[in-house]
Amino acid sequence: MKKKPRKVKHEFLYFAWRNWKLRLGLLVVFFFVLLAIVGPHLTPYEPWAYVGPSARPPCKEFWFGTTMFGQDVFTQFVHGLYPVFLVGVLGGGLATVIGTLIGFTAGYRGGWVDEILNTFTNVVLVIPTLALLLILAAYLGVRSFFIQAVFIGCTAWPWTARAVRAQTLSLKAREFVDLAKISGMRPAKIVLTEIAPNMLSYLVMVFILQFGGAILNAATLDFIGLGPTRGISLGLMMQIALLWGALPLGMWWWFVPPGLAIALLVGALYITNVGLDEVFNPKLREM
């Protein structure tokens, strides 16, 4: 039986599709993205409007039931999804950018620059970010999702900086960087055209983790009352639910969906990251 070797055009795509973790993760994430976009058009109500009887369990009329004040939980839920993505992308993105810049400069320049940046990273790494976020959040009376995303972005970057620094150090030692230097390329150009493309796959994975982390941080902040002062977010929903005794009254439909959504979304992001890691790094593939 002469087995014809399969013509494998792009090894990466071949593996990416076979990897069930990647498929599952992306599927769940897209589901929530879709829900965030389509959701608000599905319900006639406004998140804060009093539209029905109070504390009604989920029924045909109100898919996720109503709150203590008769607001439709499903409407609040779908409207609350959008800021979760906003803070996730902005906060996660900002943290990735800052982490990459600091890690990259430390790794590429080396010497005392590396020393200083590294110490700074270790310091911010150890500081309990909640203290920082509290002061900044409390200091600004009026808080928007954007501000919250910036806060989270500015405090979540240290571990990314360390990872990117290690990656840069290993790439910098590669000989094609030397070859570029003796081809007369300026350092900035070397960084952009030679080193950065190699790190792209790595940065995508780092961003996904930061995205998940940012969502969790945002929900925590909203929950202890430091979230945005206007608008609705899943964290805020849970805070209000707890504040108004949804727990003792057993109004599970008020606090279960928001938390569950965050857990599923962030879990899916982590699993996507694992899938990508397996696709890029053959060692984990056989497992």
């Binding site: 094609f176 030397d178 230097k181 003796i182 007369g184 390329m185 493309p197």
Partner: protein, 334 residues
Amino acid sequence: MIELEHVTKIYRLGTFGRRALRAVDDVSFRVAQGRVVSLIGESGSGKTTIGKMILRLIPLTSGRILFEGNDISALSGRALKDYYRKVQGVFQDPFSSYNPIFKADRIFRILKTEFFPTVGPQQWDKRIREVLSTVGLVPEEVLGKYPHQLSGGQLQRFLIARALLLDIQFLVADEIISMLDASTRIDVLNLLAELRNNRGLSILFITHDLSLAHYLSDEAIILYRGSIMESGDIEKVFQRPLHPYTQILLSSVPRLDQKWEETEIRLKVQEGKRTAGCPYYDRCYLAEKGKICADLKPQLVEAEEQHFVACHRFREIPKEVKHAAGQTRGTSLA
């Protein structure tokens, strides 16, 4: 062509750079026009560091490197680019010299944008085909391929072709054949030899393999822990090795025409801390007796015409050891 004057390189280690590693220690030599000089040393001897310093990839700690008389560390911008037009390098690991996510011939495109922006596409394509045939590659076989689709030998020749596009005068070949298989290795060496003969290219051939060095070069420099032990015309150095280290090297190389001599190799553990005195003191069988070896670092002295050695006691080396090491028996196999 290229001249090194008292070149030293000290690496700072540890957090605040307290520990210093003296990688290259007061090295001076010259590579004349159209000559192949091989820089021979084991790992950690500083040979690659010297290669990188000539290519301006790492700064010197002290001393000067002159190209056609002027100091290369002073060059910058335009002047540095002109320097790279004349001086190029090829590195050890062919697979690490190419950015994996681009096609292999991208290294030509980089040269075009950096050095020949005004040259027309057809003319540039013709030049590429020219240099590819000079290095013995069939353009259709190698152009448009990714690095992992080419063999080590092909990739190395690609790098040499790249250097030839710049019609260079000086090439630093840093262990370029150590990753290649024996059968393809020799063709790359023949290519370098032809470039020297036809184009008067001078080459600094960095290697740890004595037989390859002997095959290709006119002069040899033996390096050990950053200092030159012995240098000079390759025939003289290999026939009548004067420095104990060179003798040990020559007697240790596995050869096809001669069994290993029974000279005992004392595998002393290499202590790193000796700073004063001769770098080879710890492993040298001669050094036990003399006191001078421990305190004073020997300078290169001309033992005979075109043959230098850095050892206080090279005249006292017993007859039979010198004979055994340098002896070459029989001619090469047909």
